[in-house]
């Protein structure tokens, strides 16, 4: 373990922590059931760790030991329960003032053995292979440096014994960005003859899976290396080496929830076998491990299986088959009624099967496909996506809504889009009635889980504003207003959520921690509820974390969770107030918001303010700093011509300076109470008539006034965007509600450039509720003519 620590720290010294993430990486990458492990956290702004928040059961953390520079990280002891679920565990850390991003830690059922290679070449060959017993998890590292590191392990195997290797490497997602850890595995005999190799697997994409049955007793060698040389960065892996069975697919891949199904386990080098699997009561995904380190995914449905070669179904139903030969197409007949809505969802790649399924439906006796679906978008699967670039293998499985145009018999066909086939090419098609669903996400607009925007960190006695997105599930028909409900809020924390108007995709929501709330972290849900109580609407919280992100925003590994983490942290040394703006924000105009901060006596720092969330069509300045000696500032909003009129809740967020301004890491941030922002139409619009002026002469530009609502008093109007050399003459025209038009006097210099100028506009200035309001309107054309004398 000492060596591990040294290596980790050395590597951290080379690559600076990314200030967008509090936790850069965690080592070791995992541990074993029933053991305790000292875990190192490396990162940025990690002072005063208080709690490790696990998204699932089985691990507890204690005994934080900060490094010499406390912000760089700490060590903490993980106690892994004997019955701790095997596989990936998602966790975050609450510090005295913050909540980190999510990272993962992997639990194995086997004892963990650490590689301990500190110089490439120590276990690179069969002769220098590191001996390991069977049924262990080896945690090793492809060492950084110019030489391609190869790790070879020796196992002693008896004749007829199965040797399985399953590597977790890309899946570990050790780094948030880069660290493309794509490994390949080979099994060799004592003469170096290759008995098997795997680079990518259908089950785990970049991570290899390999198995064989030993023909004779002896030493066998497991070789692990990078598939292609990429300068390694934190290239850790956990290789499970043992006699476990690693099926590549299970058929049928699911059944009726609450029943026991008889299944065939496929792809085991020792041969196919049949097992009984009890499916629990709840519909959805079921992970079947057997004795393998990672699960096969099965589906549970509240309706029966149809298993090929049976080819007729009564809906709802789950159709199950194996596309065993290239080009094979399975067709099922079913009856459906006009205007029924069915969700047709295929599961194949999501199960880890090597199928790229394509599904189609046609009316019986006709050739034309009335539905065809090949791939899916993340949002079709109810998952958040960043910049539309996120991609997971499950998206190869199509999902579509089928709405028959008439009562009748229909044929559903399923095939591989690329024409492939094979013995473990398992699929399952679930056809069930469409249900309404709206999911909530808290992804920042840039796709990252930046604490500044997607965090939920509430200083005691203060408040935090979160931008919640609402995403309609595939086939959702509920388009009405929504209320947001918070579940699992800890004592002393309340949520203030304005009603979500029809069609709104983002709303600000506030969380308030009472002054006496306990400092703690919790997992909560934010759920959308229909205002119309008679409607049934499914909702869930969905958040995605990307790991091993690569250029082009193409991460290799994602963690999708269905709870949001919330932290109540120590009190902030200031609060912020947003004055209720009296005047509306007019389309095509600006509005200044006024914010006031109140510091505690011992805090004298500068404070940055910004709103973060603004209504659609409204833009804002980036940040405004209130210097240490000031308590007030204004903040400018600007509405374009299309900003939707209405009343919106808006908050001012304020944070300390220092740390990372973009991500908000290393800062203390609070929100003001909501104020109401009114977005309105301007009082009037002006249509400028096309005019001309001669060089060196005066001219007039006339504007026709159109009032949207009565003008409260007088307004002055100026021309803007006049061509160079043309100026508006004083006095500035003043209008009242009684005027029909306005006339501007202009003068062109003798050297004003002759030509046609577009985009001349008017600035209207008026006083409302004591505040001067400016708005822009009109788009006129002015022709500057050459002086006649010069012709």
């Amino acid at each position: 373990m000492r060596k591990l620590v040294l290596l980790g720290v050395a590597a951290a010294g080379v690559v600076c922590a990314d200030p967008r993430y509090m936790i850069d990486y965690v080592l070791p990458r995992g541990g074993s059931q029933g053991t305790s492990v000292d875990v190192e956290f490396h990162g940025f702004a990690l002072e005063n760790p208080r709690q490790v928040l696990f998204y699932g059961p089985g691990i507890t953390a204690s005994d934080f030991r900060p490094y010499a520079r406390p912000g760089d990280g700490f060590k903490v002891r993980f106690q892994i329960a004997k019955d701790c679920p095997v596989g990936e565990h998602v966790l975050r850390v609450r510090t005295a003032t913050g909540l980190t991003d999510a990272v993962t830690f992997w639990v194995s059922r086997f004892p963990t053995i650490y590689e301990f290679e500190d110089k490439a070449g120590q276990n690179d060959t069969i002769d220098r292979a590191k001996p390991v017993p069977l049924n262990v998890t080896v945690e090793g590292q492809i060492l950084p440096g110019p030489d391609a590191d190869i790790d070879v392990y020796r196992v002693e195997v008896k004749e007829g014994q199965r040797v399985s290797v399953e590597v977790e490497s890309a899946r570990l997602g050790t780094l948030h960005y880069g660290g493309e850890n794509d490994l390949a595995v080979r099994i060799l005999d004592a003469n170096g003859k290759e008995l098997g190799r795997n680079d990518d697997s259908a089950l785990f994409v970049q991570d290899p899976v390999l198995g064989m049955v030993a023909r004779k007793t002896g030493s066998y060698f497991i070789e692990i290396k990078q598939q292609i040389f990429i300068p390694p960065r934190q290239a850790w892996y956990r290789a499970h080496i043992g006699t476990f069975s690693r099926p590549t697919a299970i058929f049928p891949a699911g059944g009726r929830s609450g029943t026991t199904i008889s299944v065939r386990l496929l792809g085991d080098p020792a041969g196919e076998r049949t097992e009984q699997i009890a499916l629990p009561g709840k519909a959805g995904k079921f992970e079947y491990f057997g004795d393998a380190p990672s699960p096969n995914v099965l589906r549970m449905s509240p309706y029966p299986n149809v298993v090929w070669p049976a080819d007729s179904a009564t809906l709802p139903a789950a159709l199950n088959g194996i596309l065993a030969r290239p080009g094979e197409v399975h067709q099922y007949r079913f009856h459906a009624k006009k205007d029924e809505e069915w969700k047709v969802q295929v599961f194949a790649r999501a199960l880890g099967a090597p199928v790229d399924p394509k599904v189609w439906i046609r009316a019986a006796g006709q050739d034309r496909h009335i539905l065809e679906a090949d791939d899916a978008r993340l949002q079709d699967l109810g998952l958040p996506s960043a910049r539309a670039t996120w991609y997971i293998k499950d998206q190869q499985d199509p999902v579509a809504i089928f709405k028959p145009g008439a009562d009748g018999e229909y044929i559903l066909g399923i095939e591989d889009a690329t024409g492939a086939g094979g013995p473990d090419h398992v699929y399952r098609v679930e056809i069930e009635p469409v249900h309404n669903a709206v999911y909530t996400h808290i992804t920042a607009p840039d796709g990252y889980q930046m604490p500044r925007l997607a965090g939920l960190i509430i200083p005691k006695g203060n408040r935090w504003t979160l931008d919640v997105q609402l995403a309609q599930g595939l086939g959702n028909n509920y388009k009405g207003e929504l209320e947001l409900e918070a579940r699992g809020l800890p004592k002393g924390v309340t949520m203030i959520a304005p009603r979500v108007p029809k069609g709104a995709a983002r709303v600000p929501v506030q969380f308030v921690a009472a002054p006496d709330a306990e400092e703690q972290a919790a997992l909560i849900e934010i759920l959308a509820r229909p205002v119309d109580k008679g409607v049934k609407l499914e909702s869930a919280s969905r958040q995605g974390f990307a790991f091993t992100n690569r250029g082009g925003e193409l991460p290799w590994h994602f963690v999708f969770v269905d709870q949001y983490a919330l932290a109540v942290v120590q009190p902030a040394p200031f609060r912020v107030r947003l004055s209720q703006p009296q005047a509306p924000l007019l389309q095509g105009s600006e509005l200044l918001l006024k914010a006031t901060v109140e510091r505690t006596e011992d805090f004298t720092g500068a404070i940055e303010i910004q709103t973060d969330w603004v209504p659609p069509g409204v833009s804002k300045e980036s940040t405004v700093t209130i210097p240490a000696d000031k308590t007030e500032a204004t903040f400018r909003l600007q509405a374009n011509d299309k900003a939707a009129p209405g009343t919106y809740k808006i908050a001012m967020n304020a944070s300390t300076t220092g740390g990372d301004g973009y991500s908000g890491i290393g800062r203390v941030r609070v929100s003001s109470e909501f104020a109401e922002l009114r977005v309105s139409q301007p009082y009037l619009s002006i249509e400028l008539l096309r005019s001309s002026v001669e060089q060196g002469k005066r001219g007039e530009i006339t504007g026709t006034l159109r009032f949207n609502r009565p003008l409260p008093g007088k307004a002055t109007i100026r021309l803007e965007q006049l061509p160079r050399g043309v100026k508006m003459l004083e006095p500035v025209p003043v209008i009242t509600a009684a005027d029909k038009e306005v006339v501007f006097h202009v003068e062109a210099d003798p050297d004003a450039l002759a030509g046609l100028y577009r985009g001349i506009t008017c600035e209207v200035e008026l006083k409302e509720e004591g505040q001067t309001v400016h708005s822009h309107t009109g788009s006129g054309i002015l022709r500057v003519d050459a002086a006649r004398s010069s012709l």
Binding site: V205, F229, D375, T418, G419, G552
Partner: protein
């Protein structure tokens, strides 16, 4: 003897052709269009340009007669053609230079061309009837001319055949070109004039056809062919041609020369000291054959051919994370698959077939990367068809995309028919962004003809249209391509192999096969192709034939008769080492491992799966390594430049290697004498021992401090800066 017979027969053939009988009345397609062609009006630099010239557009080289008729007679009525006053037609005024014309005067008033156009306009500028005959072929008579000595003249006759069975002499309407003006010039009436000794081709073009005639110019005086024993068919066929040309081949290369040449050509590395010693000490009469066999089994042989193919197939990743299936992983997988096939000596027909007809994931079934690497971006069936044709047949069909090929037989119909093999190829992202599925959609429509948009079903180049209804047409394409009967394929592969050992193809460049670029020794090319196919496309067997020939093993030193020969393989050619070979040679000589960015230490330049592309290596770039931007063999450049010389003299590659090298210190430590060290350095760098004079000179450089590395570094520096090192000879 055969030659003189041909000479005698030629006039007879000409005499049997009836005298010109232009069909009456003047036909737009048969008479008027050829005038535009002959006068250059519809060439690419003039009105044949895509957007025409000065407001007037003609189909390039006359590929669109209907369009041309419309533009002349209907587009601007009364302007270009004036039926009321035919002589005042702008067409005639411009062509004769009577009014300003960017193209100047194309022909004189009163000339035959003028009269043809005038008569046509006088007749009302009629369009042809639908059944107007079309040109179905042309021939050049005679098709072989031999001159004894310079400045002899010989008229050729260009005879056009029409679809109605008639023929017509079109010398006045054809265009002419020569492949080597120095040896044979041809004038605008088809009269050939012989020049300096040699063998070349002259061509006539008419309608969409190009035909050639071989012209041989022999020196005056007596010629005696020496008694030479051919070792195999390569020698026989090259010697037969040389004898015909009265060229005496050079004598054999020395063992030292042969060893270095064979190592560089077969494995891309110079011989090591050990290899030198053992070869030189071998007294077996067949030691050269043994060496060839041994080198063929080396992994470096596979590296070299994997690199050749990787260059021809543009294997490289794109910098945007492989949005089109061209991630590094795909490039690596494809390269490794090729290398594996080269190592196993997979028959080349199977090797190509797996790529052409492949389906599935580009990471799990790497040969399908043919369809990711050729496009290097969005899939364009036309671009893929062009690259495909060039790589696997040597034919460049791209000209026929916009017009019938001007220097070859390919028509637009051929072009779009070939493109149709690829219009169904589909690609989609698979399990992750780096992986792409490649497959065929058998229901995809074929390519559309550029001219009128009619669909052109899949058709082999110069062959039939297979029945691919509802099927992946690429399977049929692979069958046709790799069939033993496909001379294009087998000959191009054989020629690519040949080029590796001579630095010049029998067709040169090897990937520009066209009628107007004929092979320098057709019989040899045909035999090599036939053998390769008969060997079951076993490349090594053909390589063995070539390398065991006296032709390959000849000296580079020329004699009086073959000094000017650059195409008949009468002596070996001096060839600058390829960039990767040279860099690997420097690494081997200095025993310093290669270091390339994004590759592990110790990888040789010849093993870089993306070649120059990702290695970011100044040496490789400067010495002309292929950037893999196109499938063209000319991507790999071996011409010397000043930058290369400067880099060898001043650059950090050699300097760094010399500084890191432990070769000399190890020899010094082992107590070797200065002369032994210098001998060793000569063998490492040049594959030979120094001459006495050289040894003496070099010793003087180190004699001041014989135990000091730097003196020997200077020696080695000088050796690898010599042309002898930089060239294969």
């Amino acid at each position: 003897m055969r030659l003189s017979l041909i000479l005698a027969a030629a006039p007879l053939i000409a005499a049997t052709i009836p005298p010109p009988q232009p069909p009456k009345p003047v036909s737009f397609r048969l008479d008027v269009m050829p005038v535009f062609f002959r006068a250059g009006c519809n060439s690419g630099g003039c009105h044949g340009a895509a957007s025409g010239k000065d407001g007037f557009h003609l189909g390039l080289f006359g590929y669109d007669p209907a369009g041309d008729y419309y533009r002349l007679t209907k587009q601007m009525v009364g302007r270009r053609i004036d039926l009321a006053a035919p002589e005042q037609s702008l067409l005639l005024l411009k062509a004769t230079g009577a009014v300003p014309h960017s193209g100047g005067r194309r022909f004189k008033p009163g000339s035959e061309y003028y009269s043809t156009l005038l008569r046509w306009i006088q007749a009302g500028a009629p369009d042809d009837a639908a059944n107007v005959p079309t040109v179905s072929g042309i021939s050049l008579v005679p098709d072989k001319v031999v001159f004894s000595g310079k400045d002899k003249r010989r008229p050729l006759q260009v005879i056009a055949r029409y679809s109605d069975g008639t023929t017509r002499v079109v010398n006045n309407l054809a265009l002419y070109l020569t492949n080597n003006q120095g040896t044979a010039d041809i004038d605008d009436q088809g009269v050939v004039t012989g020049g300096k000794r040699g063998d070349t081709f002259v061509f006539a073009r008419f309608a969409k056809y190009t035909v050639g005639a071989e012209v041989i110019v022999l020196p005056n005086g007596k010629f005696k062919w020496p008694k030479l024993k051919a070792d195999n068919y390569v020698d026989e066929l090259v010697y037969a041609k040389l004898q015909k040309l009265r060229i005496v081949p050079s004598g054999p290369a020395t063992d030292e020369q042969f060893l270095r040449r064979a190592c560089l050509d077969l494995i891309g590395l110079p011989p090591t000291g050990e290899e030198y010693k053992s070869f030189m000490a071998d007294r077996a009469p067949n030691k050269r054959a043994k060496l060839i066999d041994a080198l063929l089994e080396r992994d470096e042989y596979a590296d070299l051919w994997a690199t050749n193919w990787a260059e021809w197939l543009k294997i490289r990743s794109d910098s945007n994370n492989g949005a089109f299936g061209t991630d590094r992983k795909a490039a690596y997988a494809y390269y490794q698959w090729i290398r594996e096939q080269m190592k196993r000596n997979t028959p080349l027909d199977q090797f190509v077939r797996a790529q052409v007809a492949g389906t599935g994931s580009n990471l799990r079934n790497p040969p399908v990367n043919l369809y990711t690497m050729l496009p290097q971006g969005p899939f364009d069936p036309k671009g893929v068809a062009q690259d495909f044709s060039q790589v696997f047949t040597g034919v460049r069909v791209q000209c026929a995309q916009c017009h019938n090929h001007p220097f070859d037989r390919w028509t637009q119909e051929d072009y779009y028919g070939f493109v149709s093999f690829f219009t169904g190829v589909k690609r989609k992202v698979a399990s992750e962004a780096r992986e792409m599925y490649v497959y065929d959609d058998p229901n995809a429509p074929p390519a559309k003809h550029l001219l009128d948009g009619h669909p052109v079903p899949a058709r082999f180049l110069g062959g039939d249209a297979p029945d691919v209804q509802g099927k992946d047409p690429r399977a049929a394409l692979a069958d046709w391509l790799t069939s033993k009967d496909n001379a294009l394929f087998r000959q191009n592969l054989a020629d690519r192999i040949w080029t590796q050992f001579f630095g010049r193809g029998i067709v040169d460049p090897v990937d520009d096969v066209r009628i107007s670029n004929p092979p320098s020794n057709r019989e040899l090319l045909e035999e090599l192709g036939r053998r390769l196919a008969d060997y079951g496309y076993d490349a090594r067997r053909l390589v063995r034939d070539i390398c065991n020939s006296q032709v390959y093993q000849a000296s580079v030193a020329a004699n009086d008769s073959n000094r000017d020969d650059d195409s008949q393989f009468s002596h070996q050619r001096l060839r600058r080492l390829r960039a990767d070979v040279m860099l690997d040679a420097l690494s081997q000589i200095t025993e310093t491992p290669g270091e390339f960015s994004e590759s592990p230490r110790g990888v040789r330049a010849m093993q870089l799966y993306e070649g120059l592309y990702r290695s970011d290596n100044y040496f490789l770039k400067t010495f002309g390594a292929s950037a893999r931007d196109s499938v063209s063999t000319s991507e790999t450049r071996i011409e010397p430049t000043l930058a290369q010389a400067l880099h060898m003299v001043n650059g950090n590659t050699l300097e760094g290697k010399l500084a890191r090298s432990q070769v000399v210190p190890a020899m010094l430590k082992a107590g070797k004498k200065p002369s032994e060290i210098i001998d060793d350095l000569f063998v490492r760098a040049l594959g030979r021992k120094p001459s006495e004079a050289e040894a003496k000179k070099m010793l003087s450089l180190v004699s001041a401090s014989p135990g000091d590395k730097s003196g020997y570094d200077d020696v080695l520096w000088a050796l690898v800066n010599s042309t002898e090192f930089e060239f294969n000879h």
